[in-house]
Symmetry: C2
């Protein structure tokens, strides 16, 4: 659908930044191995990927280069998955050193590397990857990297060969780690695996997607595949935050405010948790070994897109989408005039909250506080989770406490559309006590939740026991104002018809040839949703008429009507209505006036509800 000449505005922004920063020519390409020195200093790509999976690229985003030290946080995540957090922390610390990248920085006495971002800590981390053979370890590593990048990556054999040839310092580190028993096996294959992990080929686009996978709690937002368990993502980002830029960490937090990691081939990644990942590629490095343009891009993106993680606006107020009560918003169950009046008077005791977005502590707290503040005025609470995107365990806990408190006060609580939130259902099933469960419901939709609460409210406030039901003779609302003789004339035209429970009385698309007077039982008006499921629009009870709209505008029936129980209807055929109009015009006038009145009431209700929801 996109217009061919149209670029995305985010691409425009990135192009501007790319053009500005391309003019910076300082820094030198890494040269400690000849293959890296061959890089063209003009190569320059930027890729921004959102946690919702949008990929924005400008410049040289498809050129391959080696991942180098950017591999360290990803391998640290694998070590956490393979060994658990306590075991990993025992062998590698998480404190910044204030030193340069290749400092050995082992803790006095224990020999524990200070953190996993310096080479010593990274080699110790690589030594913790699960696998029986060096080959299987590397295979697992590559598979994980593939999941992060969303494509099959390969090893750059030439770079790997050179790294291996010149890697004496890293082999020395390996032996030192063996000496302190941080490594408990032959260190040489571990260092070799470390050289391999650094020699995996990626593109700038890959880096953007890998960073976005960390931003998206470990799920690659483009492929939807999980690369790392969510519980370890915070730990990976933490070591990037505190140690990812070596002795530059404080400045980086101050000026950029995004966890980041750079590599000696000119790559750099930065992550804004929950929002986006950034990959940059530009080979010339500063004296600290970081890509000169890469750092400038991160600084500029942080500034111009306002991405600093510590500079956030309050986000608590948007969780409550709407707040309604049954005094103004009702179920599709058609009610008598008397019942409508009672609902207008007492409906405030039924409180509906429609929630939306992500339920974590802060967002849930605003809802919970509001409910508890008004608890003495709530008899029936309905929470609608239809538009809730995610929720965490803390939110479940707060909601559990709300249920318990309201039930203890004698109220009922209904959670609607909670079937899409299995964590919530499991949590409540495990935690709610048996006596609470009797007053706690999880109906499928807001309408049935509301109907049940309305029924209970009406039963508790109506003047006598079942007062509305004991009228000895059935009166149709459409017969209001007609004399007994006039009613008899209509009645003589009616055709009686019975339906079993579940029978279809009207099908959508049917031609409209009759008006139905419901004499016994209940009927529901249903429509088919695009999803294929059925949604109830309204329910009618004895004394009401239905099917009048299609009769009036001669359109085909727009909805299906089904018998909820054993149903008896009296049908007034269209031709009989015509006849009555000719023979007894005053009767038809009264019928039409009553019909107008009924439509009028429905329209007023619909308009009132529209103004509440708009």
């Amino acid at each position: 659908m996109s217009h061919p000449s149209l670029t995305q505005p985010v691409v425009d922004l990135l192009q501007q930044i790319h053009a500005d920063i391309a003019t910076i020519n300082s820094g030198d390409v890494a040269s400690y191995i000849p293959e890296l020195a061959k890089a063209n200093p003009d190569w320059f790509g930027i890729c921004l990927v959102t946690a919702t999976g949008a990929v924005y690229e400008v410049g040289d985003t498809a050129l391959p280069f080696t991942i180098q030290s950017i591999s360290k946080p990803f391998v640290y995540g694998m070590a956490l998955e393979d060994n658990g957090r306590p075991e990993v922390l025992q062998k590698v610390g998480v404190e910044p050193t204030g030193d340069v990248f290749n400092s050995i920085s082992l803790e006095a006495g224990t020999g524990r590397p200070r953190n996993p971002m310096i080479n010593a800590g990274a080699i110790a981390t690589t030594g913790m990857i699960a696998g029986k053979t060096p080959q299987s370890k590397f295979r697992r590593m590559l598979e994980t990297f593939n999941a992060y990048a969303g494509r099959e990556l390969v090893l750059d054999g030439t770079i790997y060969g050179s790294e291996n040839e010149t890697g004496h310092r890293n082999r020395a580190i390996g032996h030192m780690l063996r000496n302190f028993e941080i490594l408990t096996v032959d260190p040489i294959p571990v260092v070799d695996l470390y050289f391999k992990q650094c020699s995996i080929e990626v593109t700038c686009r890959d880096l953007g997607i890998m960073a976005a996978t960390l931003a998206n709690r470990g799920i690659n937002p483009v492929t939807g595949k999980q690369a790392i368990r969510a519980e370890y993502v915070g730990s990976v980002l933490s070591v990037m935050e505190s140690c990812g830029t070596y002795d530059f960490a404080g400045e980086w937090i101050y000026h950029v405010g995004l966890p980041a990691k750079s590599g000696v081939a000119g790559g750099i990644i930065a992550v804004l948790p929950g929002q986006l990942g950034i990959g940059v590629f530009s080979p010339p490095l500063d004296e600290r070994g970081n890509s000169v343009r890469g750092i400038r891009v991160c600084q500029e993106l942080s500034r111009s897109l306002d991405l600093h993680q510590l500079s956030r606006v309050s986000m608590g107020r948007v969780t409550i989408r709407t707040k309604l009560t049954a005094a103004e918003f009702n179920s599709g169950r058609a009610r008598t005039q008397e019942e409508q009046k009672l609902l207008r008077e007492h409906g405030g005791l039924i409180q509906i909250y429609q929630l939306q977005g992500h339920l974590a502590f802060s967002t849930t707290e605003t809802v919970v506080r509001d409910i508890i503040d008004h608890a003495s005025a709530i008899k029936h609470l309905i929470l609608d989770f239809k538009r809730v995107v995610t929720l965490n365990e803390c939110a479940c806990h707060l909601l559990q406490l709300v249920v318990e408190k309201l039930v203890a006060l004698g109220g009922t609580v209904s959670f609607v559309h909670s079937q899409q939130l299995p964590l919530l259902r499991r949590y409540l099933k495990a935690k709610l006590s048996a006596q609470v469960e009797a007053s706690f419901r999880q109906p499928e939709d807001i309408d049935s939740a509301l109907e049940k609460c309305e029924d209970e409210l009406l039963a508790s406030v109506s003047s006598g026991p079942g007062a509305a039901l004991v009228s000895t003779e059935l009166k149709f609302e459409l017969f209001d104002g007609l004399s007994p003789d006039e009613v008899a004339i209509i009645t003589s035209c009616l055709q009686r018809r019975s339906y079993a429970k579940g029978a279809v009385i009207i099908n959508a698309g049917d031609e409209a040839r009759e008006l139905f007077f419901l004499a016994e039982g209940h009927v529901s008006v249903l429509v088919k949703l695009p999803s294929g499921s059925r949604k109830r629009l309204a329910t009618f009870t004895a004394g009401m008429a239905f099917g009048e709209m299609a009769v009036i505008d001669h359109a085909p029936r727009s909805a299906m009507i089904v018998a909820d129980d054993a149903v008896t209807c009296n049908l007034l055929m269209l031709e009989d209505l015509e006849k009555i109009g000719i023979q007894h015009p005053s009767i038809k006038i009264k019928l039409l006036e009553n019909l107008c009145l009924s439509l009028c009431r429905k329209l007023r209700k619909a308009n009132r509800e529209l103004s509440l929801l708009e």
Copy 2:
């Protein structure tokens, strides 16, 4: 309204944590001055304050104690405001030292303290507070602290006296800073001011509110008063993040993940930007000088409430509240059958996005991407900002690009309810070119925006020029199916009445005594909102009838009807309608049938719109 026996669920959670951690009895109360040694090791309070201003307290939250080192980040913020960021960074760095709290850690050569959280950096920072005299500097300091805490704080004179007496090391630091010209004035009054800032008395509740003020971009969420400019909050939190816990910073980021600062009297603050602040008070300290229980509370809150700042879920998807087109959702302008048909066919070219929440880069990007992806199918774009809470400059920029791109394609763009977002209006006024402005509108409400787009769409798609308007004779929809003779009978009963532009034709609350046939001009149906402003519900044009609902149900008029231009109406009085019913029942039957039809159409439209919004 709150029920007396009801505690807030968040208080329940805090009480549980308080009870668990109260059992920890390790650590020693600070004793380097006798007044601090008098603290009761059992004192223990926790206060959590949300960025929306909810205050939750348990335990000893009202006991006064001295703020000590927790003053450092707040004074750093004042130095930034008084001197600007470059000047401050020149005198004090932002790199962690990896050393303990009272290390001197000056940079070799320059003598610049490594960061503002160690004593040397804090004293240098205090030296940058604006003010002519030591007294006026302290007054400004106290006023700022008062704004953070939301009440008048006082100095603890005894503690101040003892600090002053024993503060030789800090005086040594002062002279060293003077030696390197980091301080360019007599260091003794600066060190004295530093002792005073450390001796300000706060409570645990104060700390919670001060932390929440940092979480809320510098605005105290309880009082609404600004304590620090928003642009500097990120910098204050950055130094807390990287340097706030001295040589414990890496562990803290890893395990707690909230910028924090502790004081030697047993206080501690932690901040989750955009969401909440935490204050804890418990005097026993560990060997690093941090409150033992305070640290445990932060760890436990971070874990159980899932507050780690780097462990966030994606939050992009909730910005679009609803997406509608004019094929299914229309303005209140009543349309002819032909116009309604054209709108159903072509209304997809008018696209409405209702936005909500906070518009920053990530949240705006999802909207912008969706619009550009569908741009070739959009002729008229309407963005409704009614439920947008905040927006930043980056969001303005992206929206500006959208306007320019759509206008370049020949479309129109309307921003509705943008009057509540002055930044957006200023930004667009400054940046949009003159040729774009002609196709860019900022109407007051969605209804008038939609009406104008519908008018333009109808003009562009209707078969002939003004085809709908050239009917030589006015036909009332309610007269459909009546013979000319029957129309003449009704017409003879009608009373002609004219209204000037702006005249009130019907007032809300009036008794309903007539039905209006609109012969010339336009009328609007208005309701008064609780805010006092008027909202248009519908507009009618010549050939339509209005005022029928109150006539039918005999309720008082529910809305006001006003002449939009010179208006002529033909009034059918209720008693005349009665007479027609008696003398010419077939006419009344046709009138009522047409009325039913009109109500039916309105009800179908309202139900359709309800299902879209629900």
